[in-house]
Symmetry: C2
Subunit: 138 residues, 2 copies
């Protein structure tokens, strides 16, 4: 299944999620691990769409989510920076999810600069992440 860029953007406007988890982690210098991820969740009947997204982006994994749901997920900082972020810069989201994307991009770029390894950096990331996905009804 070939997916054109317009279709991908429309589908992600509906079904995609840009999320940043921040978890306590003793081994990290700032005491926290910052985990950005891009996900698309679908009923298992449409798992072929998730595999097509994986092939289109050339990164990520397709895994079981909850119950009869499957998820396409990209967690690699390198893949987020080099594949996911550039795609949605070139093909902008049209929904308010674009605002989440912009915050997400800011955070992964801060991580690229190593900001998540400092306490101040983690605080700033936490502040930005706290403003994401607020309008979501899922």
């Amino acid at each position: 299944m070939n997916l054109d860029s317009g279709w991908i953007t429309g589908f992600v406007d509906g079904e995609g999620c840009f999320y940043v988890g921040i978890n306590p982690h003793e081994e990290m210098s700032a005491g926290y691990q910052v985990l950005p991820e891009f996900t698309v969740v679908q009923h298992e009947r449409d798992v072929q769409i998730l595999h097509a997204l994986k092939a289109s982006f050339g990164c990520g994994v397709v895994r079981k989510n909850h119950g009869d749901r499957m998820a396409y997920r990209v967690r690699s900082l390198e893949h987020l920076l080099e594949r996911i972020v550039p795609f949605f810069e070139k093909h902008p989201l049209k929904s308010k999810k674009r605002q989440d994307f912009i915050k997400f991009r800011r955070i992964v770029r801060m991580m690229e600069a190593g900001d998540h390894l400092t306490e101040d950096g983690v605080e700033e990331i936490r502040r930005i992440a706290g403003q994401m996905n607020r309008g979501s009804s899922r």
Copy 2:
């Protein structure tokens, strides 16, 4: 906001619904009213997308749905036959929702031929409609 056809198809693959309601109705010759509708529901923060869909298809209405949700809805048989169905024939859905679309198209074409005005026709429409939206998790 201009929506390209690829984006619309991707968004509808995620968020759209093809539905056929069949309700008892004394004044209809077969005793039932058949009500096909194409809908896209969004949180009110993204109502501008629904208006853009309405402008792109050149038909339908944007109305309040439940709570903080808004809906774009096309119920006119003429508009379904002349605008919605041809669009998704030209730009095929990629998810399993396409199977709902094909059943939906069959029903609106039966209605175009007047089949919904006979008891046998309503029975056949009910049989087809009963196979729709089965995989939906909404």
